[in-house]
C-alpha cells in the first residue's frame, strides 16, 4: 500500500526495534536456525518461548517445538536431541530450573552443546519473582558455560555467540545465557538486530562429531559402570574443555563477532573509566548500567572510580581480572546473590572475585554489596555504597566488608 504518513523520520533510526529481552533472544534463536526447542512455562523466561511459539505458528521459521511436562523433561529432550545432532534451545527460571537439575548436570557430562537461557529469578519465597542470581549460580560447578547480558541487544548477541562457542569441537559444552529476570526479560528497549547473512557467515551449521546414531557405531556409556572406572577422567576432560573455551575459543568467537559487526568488544569485560581508577565497582548484568551511571556522576566530582562488568561467570576470567584490578585500591562487588554461611558470610560473586585476587601482588580492599532478595536497586543506595567503599580505602580498613544494601532494618 502507499505510505500515508508524511514523515520526516530518519530511516536509520527507525531500524532500531523496541524489543523485550525475551523477544530479542527469540529472534536470536530464529537467526541461529535452531532445530529443537523444549518449552515449559515459568516466569520470567516464558516470554522467550511465547515469542518463539508465535514465530513458528506464523510460519516465520521452522523448529521442532516441544511443550514438555516439566523442566526435567525439557532438559532431557534437548540433551537427547543434541546428542543425535540437532541444534537445540531451552531455558528456565528460578526453582523450575532446579527441578531440571539432574538433566542439566548430565548434559554437561555428556558434552552436549545445548544453549539454555536462565531468566534469573529469586528462589521461591512465596510469590517472589524479583531478580536474583542464585538460581543460575547453583550450576556454576558442573561444566556449563555461563554469561550475563546487560540489555536485550546483548542478550541477542550473546545467544548467537553462545552457539558458536558451545558447538566448537574444542569445547562441546552446554552454555547458559543469563538474562536478569524482569529487568531484561520484560523490559523492552531499542535493539538493532544483525542481518541474517552475517549470522550465517558467523555461525556454521552444528555438526555433532559423534552423533548417537547406529550408523556411526555409537552407543551411550553403560550407566552401571563402576563409578571409579571413568568418573575422574570424565570430569578431567570437562576441565580441559572449559579451559580451552576460556583461553582460546571464547576470545576467538568474540573476535569473529567483532569482525562481522564492526564493534570491537572484549570477550570478558566491559569496563568504563578503569584506566586510572583507584576504586572499581565490579558487577554483572542489567544493573551494571546503573553502575556506569553512578561512575560518570562521581567522576564529575573528581573521584577516580571505574566500572567493570564481567560478561562471563563460567569460565571465570581470573588472570584478566587480576590484571585489570592490579592498580586498584578498593573493589566493590555489586552482587544480586547470597551465599549463607560462606567464607565471610558474603555472596557468590564476591567470593569468586576474592578467590581470583587471593594471590594478586597488591590485594585491594574488597567490599561486598548485597542486593539479594529480588528488590530493585536504587541509584541512591548504589551511590552511598560507592562512597562507603571510598571511605574505607581512605581509612585503610573496612569495618564491615559485607553489607546488605536494600534490606530494611539493622544490617548487623
Amino acid at each position: 500500500m502507499s505510505k500515508t504518513s508524511q514523515v520526516s523520520v530518519q530511516k536509520s533510526v527507525q531500524k532500531r526495534r523496541v524489543w523485550t529481552g525475551a523477544r530479542a533472544v527469540a529472534e536470536a534463536v530464529k537467526l541461529a536456525d535452531v532445530d529443537v526447542i523444549a518449552a515449559y512455562p515459568i516466569r520470567p523466561y516464558t516470554g522467550i518461548m511465547n515469542s518463539l511459539a508465535t514465530m513458528i505458528a506464523g510460519g516465520d521459521f521452522y523448529a521442532e517445538y516441544l511443550v514438555c511436562d516439566s523442566e526435567h523433561s525439557q532438559f532431557e529432550v534437548v540433551k537427547h536431541a543434541s546428542a543425535v545432532g540437532a541444534r537445540t534451545f531451552v531455558g528456565s527460571s528460578g526453582t523450575g530450573l532446579i527441578y531440571g537439575t539432574e538433566a542439566v548436570i548430565t548434559t554437561a557430562l555428556g558434552q552436549l552443546p545445548v544453549v539454555g537461557v536462565v531468566g534469573c529469578r529469586s528462589l521461591d519465597d512465596p510469590g517472589n519473582f524479583g531478580m536474583e542470581w542464585n538460581d543460575a549460580f547453583l550450576f556454576r560447578d558442573v561444566g556449563w558455560l555461563m554469561n550475563w547480558s546487560k540489555d536485550p541487544q546483548e542478550a541477542l548477541e550473546m545467544t548467537l555467540v553462545a552457539y558458536r562457542i558451545a558447538e566448537d569441537e574444542r569445547v562441546l559444552l552446554p552454555h547458559f545465557v543469563a538474562l536478569d529476570g524482569a529487568t531484561i526479560t520484560h523490559v523492552a528497549s531499542p535493539v538493532i538486530p544483525p542481518k541474517k547473512e552475517l549470522v550465517d557467515r558467523f555461525l556454521p551449521p552444528y555438526k555433532q562429531p559423534h552423533p548417537l546414531d547406529p550408523s556411526y557405531d555409537t552407543v551411550s556409556k553403560a550407566m552401571h559402570i563402576a563409578p571409579s572406572l571413568i568418573g575422574p577422567e570424565q570430569r578431567k576432560s570437562l576441565d580441559a574443555a572449559i579451559k580451552r573455551a576460556k583461553n582460546v575459543v571464547i576470545p576467538e568467537a568474540w573476535k569473529a563477532w567483532s569482525d562481522i559487526t564492526g564493534k570491537d568488544v572484549d570477550p570478558y569485560f566491559e569496563s568504563m573509566k578503569m584506566e586510572d581508577a583507584d576504586y572499581a565497582l565490579v558487577s554483572m548484568g542489567a544493573y551494571s548500567r546503573n553502575v556506569d551511571y553512578i561512575v560518570e556522576k562521581l567522576r564529575e566530582t573528581g573521584v577516580k572510580v571505574g566500572s567493570l562488568r564481567l560478561k562471563y561467570f563460567r569460565p571465570f576470567p581470573t588472570e584478566e581480572l587480576k590484571n585489570i584490578l592490579k592498580d586498584v585500591k578498593g573493589v566493590g562487588v555489586i552482587d544480586f546473590s547470597f551465599s549463607l554461611g560462606s567464607p565471610g558470610n558474603g555472596s557468590v560473586l564476591s567470593n569468586e572475585v576474592k578467590t581470583a585476587l587471593y594471590d594478586a601482588e597488591n590485594r585491594p580492599i574488597l567490599m561486598d554489596f548485597i542486593f539479594a532478595g529480588g528488590r530493585e536497586m536504587t541509584l541512591t543506595e548504589l551511590e552511598n555504597s560507592t562512597k562507603q567503599l571510598i571511605e574505607s580505602v581512605k581509612n585503610g580498613r573496612v569495618d564491615k566488608p559485607v553489607r546488605w544494601v536494600t534490606v530494611r532494618g539493622d544490617d548487623e
Partner: protein, 374 residues
Amino acid sequence: MSSPELESLTWLAIHGRGVINTAHSSQIALTLSQAGVSAGREAFYYMRYDDSPERVQLPFIYYAVFGNPKIKMILPEEVEPIGNVFDTIAVLDSSLLVKSTSQRALLLDGAKKNASLVVNTSLKPEVILRLVKKYGCAHDWDGRIFTLRAKKYGKNIAYGMIGAIARAMEPLVTIEHVIDSLESTEDQREAIEAVKTAYDESESIKVSLKASDCEQYRKVAPPSKDANASGAKPVPWNRESYLKIKRAVADAPTYEQRMKTMPSWEQIAPALIEFGPKVGERNFGFKTSFARTFRPVIDEAKCINCKLCHIFCPDGAINFDPIKVDYDYCKGCGICANVCGSNAISMPHELAALEGLDEEEFLTIREALIEYAY
C-alpha cells in the same frame, strides 16, 4: 525507587484489566516507545503487577519511559517508581477510576502536577473529573483529561487509545511519529486510520484541582516519622507489633507511604508464618477487591436465604449469616449471581452501583472468555 533521575524522565502509565487489556497495553506501549525512538529519544517499557494478570479482570500497569535529551543514559529496569513521575496516565477500563491496582490505590498516585489523564469511556470528561476528585487523587492537579470511546475505532481498542495518548503526550511524540511506528502492524491501513481519527476526535478538558478538594486527601497522612530512619532500633517482632505494622501497610493510601510503612527484617514475622485473621475473619493484609468490575448486589426481598452463593463463592467473600457480600474481597466473578435460584443477585457495573453512572465502554467477562476460550 526514588531518585531525581527518574523524575526527569517522561513516563506513561497504562492501567488496564485482564488478558485482553494486557495485549492492548503491550501494543500501545510498544507503538509509543517506537514513536519515541523515532523522535530521537531513548525509550523502554515494561509491565508491573502484583498478581498474575492472566487471570480474568485482574488489573496491571504498563509503564513506557522516555529518555531526557539531557540525560543520555537511561536505565532500562523494571521499577515501581516513587515520587511524582507520571506525565500521562491512560486508563483502558474506567472501573479502575474507582479502585485502582494494588500498587496504586489512588489512580493519580505518583502523577506529576501537570499530568494528563486519558480514559477509555462513554462518560464525559467532567464526570471523570468528579470521579477522580472523589476516588483517585490526593494532590494538586493542573492537567488535562482526555476521553474517548476506543471501541469506536475498531475491534482493537489499542488504536483508538494510541491516538488519544499521542495527543496527550504531544510534543514529545507527534502523530507522524506514531503513524510511522505502526508501519509493521498487520492491519496497517485500518490502524493508521483509527489512530488519526481518535487523535482528532478525543474530547478533552483542562483541570485544576486543589489537594484539599479531593476526598482522599484526608486519608493521606502527612509523611509519618520513618521509624527505620530515625536511628531507633526497631522492636523485634511479636504478634501485636507485627499486626500493627501490617494494619498500617494495608491502610496506606499511596505507594510511597506503603513502602515507608513496610516492616524491617527484625519486625517481620518469622519464616513463612503470617499473623492476621482469626477464625471466621478475613485476612486484612490481602484484600482482593481491585479485581472487580461488576459488583454483586443482593436483593433482600427476593433472597430466600438458601446459602448457595456462600457455598459457591470461590473467594469466601460472602458471609454465611446473614448472607452479605464483603466487598473488600469480592472479585466480581459473578458465580453467586449464576447459582442464585431466585435471581436475587444482580451484577451491575461498579460505576453504576456506586455512582449511578451508565458506563458503556468495558470488557465483559463473557467477551474475555470467548476471546481466550478459558
